[in-house]
Amino acid sequence: MISAFDVIGPAMVGPSSSHTAGACRIGIIARHLFAGTPREATIELHGSFASTGTGHATDRALVAGLLGFAPDDERIKDAFSQAATLGLHFEILSADFGEDAHPNSARLTVKGENGEDHSLLAASVGGGMVEVREVDGYTTSFGGQLETLLLWHEDKPGFLAKVTALLSCVEANIATIRTSRKGRGAEALSVIEVDVPLPDDCLSLLAKISPTRTVRHFSRLP
């Protein structure tokens, strides 16, 4: 679903919607995988992100997103010095994800407080729109255009039934849902996009559904 505001917008700091605003949004999504603040990040850039990323401030925008800056935040140009101040260590590498990867792709491997770590593979698909392709090695697909819920859980029968029942109780209409697992009965990740913001008590109940390990959520990206 393309919104009129995907075409006209976002409000952003230059120079490139895909390489700067989109990169910043990828960083923001990576930050939302953590309960606390990201502390260490390895950022790999592929294709056009690698070859023209410096001139487009792609590197600075990804770091800015990890710091929680919105795409129109005028501090993006100073993201590296802001990272030093705010205690985020990072390294930026050039990589080749292969022919099938979108030319504007980045992989972020991030460590947070309390030893939490996550990885994210995402592409900036034009006009500031982004698509997450992998989270922690699980294949997925979401763009941060809706309220997004990420549930790490065990692959057990009835899990999604409980989750969707709870969402229906708060009248949250599900737009998309995707579960990906490491194997039958093993670890899994479900990503659910819903149309309305979820109340806090709904989120805390979701965390109690067996066998949920971790719940994260974030609202429509700025």
């Binding site: 009129a4 230059g14 023209t52 001139g55 993006i76």
Partner: protein, 312 residues
């Protein structure tokens, strides 16, 4: 009620059956999808238009060059030229160009802009709207409406092709922006939805094949001048349509042609700075890989280019 549309043909069916302009079709679709009021959506577009005007104002004032040294100050020069006694083709032409330049110069200096549809093409729609405001009395409400007209066309392009220079070349960015602006101009001039779509088709068909070969990988050369020039291109396309010139290839087909050409375009000419202007002798001086001294241009060096020319 289904207010969504996949193609320009579907969009025109909605407009004809409801007797509404393109902007209204986009506005109704958005109100339904986001479950919010039309007024709040128009407010947001009005706010975006103010940011656009502000980016033009700030860009016109730029005298210093950007960090790369590739741009800065030309919008200001064009503005002064527009106000000189006898500017070529009248002052509106150079003013429109100056506005397109201004947004991109501001963008290159990490300024705040509205991606329309991308940052690299963010000058075209604002330049056209401000020009209409000055020459045709377009109001702020009219501009907010015109942005929905532009969005209607942009939604169709987004669904059937793409806006990414890395996937479709410059035709996907500047071509799309110019296409959207042409339709917005026609609707603002009280043209019909069919005329607006024809203008969009004229604009896009004459940007097909445009490659993305930015010097040094920066969104500056040729992007800054291209935004100024293709804002004027939108007025040319709108003029053709308002004069009822015949549109042989409908907008949907032109969009498919744009997608097809984008797929066939070599990767080296899609925002990688591995060919074209980026690897000319003058362009290479700004190439980031120059520092590593191991960069091999994919396409002709100056010598090989001369050989080809002598053969021709």
């Amino acid at each position: 009620m289904n207010a969504d549309f996949q193609t320009a043909a579907e969009l025109l069916v909605i407009c004809r059956s409801e007797n509404i302009p393109l902007s209204e079709a986009a506005l109704r679709r958005e109100a339904l999808e986001q479950a919010c009021s039309r007024e709040s959506l128009l407010d947001k577009m009005r706010e975006y238009y103010r940011t656009m005007r502000d980016s033009i104002r700030r860009g016109l004032a730029i005298k210093a060059t950007s960090p790369s040294g590739l741009s800065g100050g030309d919008a200001n020069k064009l503005w002064h030229y527009a106000n000189s006694p006898h500017p070529l083709m009248g002052s509106a032409l150079s003013r429109t160009m100056a506005y397109g330049f201004a947004v991109l110069e501001h963008n290159a200096q990490f300024g705040r802009i509205i991606a329309t549809p991308t940052a690299g093409s963010a000058g075209i729609v604002p330049a056209c709207l401000l020009s209409l405001e000055e020459t045709q009395g377009l109001t702020e409400d009219g501009a907010a409406r015109a942005l929905f007209t532009a969005a209607a066309i942009g939604i169709v392009i987004g669904k059937n092709a793409c806006f990414s220079g890395a996937r479709g070349g410059c035709q996907a960015e500047v071509g799309s922006a110019s296409c959207m602006a042409a339709a917005a101009i026609v609707e603002a001039m009280n043209g019909t939805p069919d005329q607006a779509c024809s203008a969009a088709a004229f604009a896009l068909m004459n940007t097909l094949g445009l490659v993305c070969d930015p010097v040094g990988g920066y969104v500056e050369v040729p992007c800054v001048s291209r935004n100024g020039m293709f804002a004027v291109h939108s007025f040319l396309a709108a003029t053709m349509s308002l004069a009822e010139a015949r549109c042989v290839i409908p907008l949907d087909d032109v969009i498919l042609a744009m997608r097809d050409i984008g797929r066939r375009m070599p990767r080296s000419l899609k925002e990688t700075s591995e060919a074209g202007l980026a690897t000319t002798p003058a362009g290479l001086k700004f190439h980031p890989s120059k520092k590593g001294e191991n960069f091999q241009p994919v396409l002709p060096t100056a010598t090989r280019l001369n050989d080809n020319m002598s053969m021709g």
